[in-house]
Amino acid sequence: MDFDESPEDAAFRGEALAWLAENASRRGPVTANAVADDPAHVARCKKWQATLADAGWAAIAWPAAYGGRGATSRHQSLFNEEQSKFDVSTGVFAVGLGMAGPTLIAHGTEEQKDRFLPPLLRGDEVWCQLFSEPGAGSDLAGLSTRAELDGNDFVVNGQKVWTSGAQHSDWAILLARTDFDQAKHKGLTYFVLDMRSPGIEVRPLRQINGVAHFNEVFLTDVRVPAANVLGEVNGGWGVALTTLANERNFIGGGTSSIGFANIVDRARASGRTNDPLVRQELAEAFTRFEVLRFIGYRIQTAFAQGRVPGAEASILKLLYSRHVERNGNLGVDVEGAAGMLSGADAPDDGLWQQQFLTQWAMRIGGGTDEVQRNVVGERVLGLPAEPRPDKYAPFRELVRN
């Protein structure tokens, strides 16, 4: 065991920093703009991702054969740490680079990889995740969007919900039911879907933090070529598990633009750094950042050794969501009476209010805290699962919402 960075890693970090310093400007004080979700933000992300790709910094952990750097996800983390000091974002590629890409690499055919990975990596195409439905959230395998084979196409009908970024997506990863007579986990198929296909209607939902971030997506007789099935027909659940593990790792890896220094800056600006209670909170925040960093590294090590970190990713995501909640509360609390304000009236343009209003969503999106705890209980501790009336019967016969 060695908690210190190896000379090779330190050199990699230095190389990344030098390149970033030449190609991006340092981040100023963070403001609420950090969570913007508008076309200008999409354009900014695309431009930066192309810059990364040109210089060989896009998808550092992907195999070189698909345009990646062929390094490890630890290197990606090192790069991300340095990148977070600069005023750049790859936020709209969260689903593409964080989930769709790794799933394609693990389960895609060579044709699929050749078609989808390069434009994804260059930032030409934005992806979204069509998993959750009004009737299927934590119980994702309970989804009822239907896909039926018709010639060389599947015809898809159903409704998805909470789809982040669907409004500016080119492609989607889609989970749909191809067999209603099998048990719920067994009749699912995983597709890649062209979001420009006829029959797709995207309706925005306004989120609590004021940002139009996610959507309802209605699918009516949408045709998907059978060639766009990822993995086997009716084998979608296993493919989805790869996506979910990557999602948890991605969320837990902390894409938030808030660093410890931002929290200290806020406390200082509010004149509260001499308050012993605030100091204790800052000290606790510091330890949380450290714990997350090291658990993150441990997961990178697992990836590097070719293991898919299932339960570890759940632990990381759980710790991260608690962390974000505490940070959101802390930022607002140190502001005193001004903490009650929102938008431009609030300090730092409402950044901390945004953090506060978004923090609870971390505990829901990507699988809720309870779902992650169940993973830890069942897969790590080996506790028996709760009795499940729904697990083995044909999906058609289940009681549903």
Binding site: I208, M340, F356, L357, I364, E386
Partner: protein, 368 residues
């Protein structure tokens, strides 16, 4: 000991519930949130017509004389429905102090107009750079002219008069200020719960009168603050009760894994914890309000009630938000507003740690 409400109190509560439920529908609240004032004037008029604005004010001023507990019953119903009306600032921070400390003239000028719904009042207690409202940085000259600023004054953007504590050469004094006077600037600000408040800046601004004697202001401020804190705890109790009811209903109706969510212990235990918090909020609120009505010292009890409202209240709205899953994020579904109000109330007039500090100081004093 008797933990039941009197028939009269039950009648007040039922009347308030009926009016708030009738007016503050989700659609109406959305409509108000899209407007400028963020106040439901129709509902305000209905409360006046039902005689609820004067419920806690003395009978000799035209009120019903039913005490702070009756006001808290009304505020609790307001919290349940998240009704956008300036009840707490007008009554607890404005009218009650005028009834207690005002001259005959001040009482006869303002209280009838409050009771009829014509006047909106408030007190400007918070400052950006002072943590104790009874030790303000806003200063008043010997001639009663104010300089300095107050922040996040509830209903400050629509109030007809504002009570303003200021430091004077003779000590702290509370002044009555006409916000439309020269030298007073009102900056309307948005709060996280979709309501509005005001930052108020005074530049050599005139005052109309003092409330209470010059130099006695610190005691007046503490008196006002205690009514404000208890009032906030009452609103928070309504917020918490209704949020728990919504979560119980939602998780019982929604199926995942082939059964209602509420049958998972992870869900039901969290809901039960929320209910336990609300029970503690309930008893601490009523103890504080009762002691104030009985004329007993309530300093510690007020802080305990507000501490539970802040700490327990926040826990409740986090739980109810969480139990709604993704539904909690959608602004077209009502539960998120309980989350927003819960946080806002928790932080108003001093958050949890401020109350703990007050309780701690009080205990250290008592057991010396």
């Amino acid at each position: 000991m008797d933990f039941d409400f009197s028939d009269e109190q039950v009648a007040v509560r039922d009347l308030a519930a009926q009016i708030f439920t009738g007016h503050a529908t989700v659609d109406r609240i959305k409509q108000i949130e899209a407007g400028n004032e963020r106040i439901d004037r129709d509902l305000w008029a209905a409360l006046a017509t039902a005689n609820l604005l004067g419920i806690a004010l003395p009978e000799e001023d035209g009120g019903s004389g039913l005490g702070l507990m009756s006001l808290c019953l009304v505020l609790q119903e307001q919290g349940r429905r998240l009704a956008p009306v300036p009840l707490l600032p007008t009554i607890a921070l404005g009218a009650l102090p005028i009834a207690e400390f005002g001259t005959v003239e001040q009482r006869s000028t303002w209280l009838p107009r409050v009771i009829s719904g014509e006047a909106i009042l408030t007190a400007a207690l918070d400052e950006a750079d002072s943590i104790d409202p009874a030790a303000p940085r806003v200063i008043a000259s010997a001639g009663g002219r104010l300089s300095g600023s107050k922040v996040v004054v509830p209903a400050g953007h629509i109030a007809d008069r504002v009570l303003v504590p200021a430091s004077t050469p003779d000590g702290v004094t509370v002044f009555v200020v006409d916000p439309s006077a020269d030298g007073v600037t009102i900056d309307v600000v948005d709060t996280t719960d979709h309501q509005r408040a005001a930052h108020i800046t005074f530049v050599n601004a005139p005052t109309e009168a003092t409330l209470g004697r010059a130099g006695d202001g610190a005691a007046v401020v503490r008196w006002i603050l205690d009514r404000g804190l208890v009032g906030l705890a009452a609103i928070q109790l309504g917020v918490a009760d209704e949020a728990i009811r919504l979560a119980a209903e939602y998780t019982s109706g929604r199926l995942q894994f082939g059964k209602p969510l509420s049958t998972f212990q992870g869900v039901s235990l969290r809901a039960a914890d929320a209910y336990i918090d609300a029970s503690a909020m309930n008893v601490t609120l009523w103890q504080a309000a009762w002691r104030i009505d009985e004329g007993l010292d309530a300093s510690r009890e007020v802080a305990i009630a507000k501490w539970w409202a802040a700490d327990g209240g926040e826990r409740v709205v986090h739980a109810t938000q969480h139990l709604h899953g993704g539904m909690g994020a959608d602004v077209d579904y009502p539960v998120h507003r309980y989350f927003l109000w819960g946080k806002q109330i928790a932080d108003s007039l001093g958050g949890a740690s401020k109350q703990l500090a007050r309780i701690g100081a009080d205990i250290a004093d008592a057991y010396r």
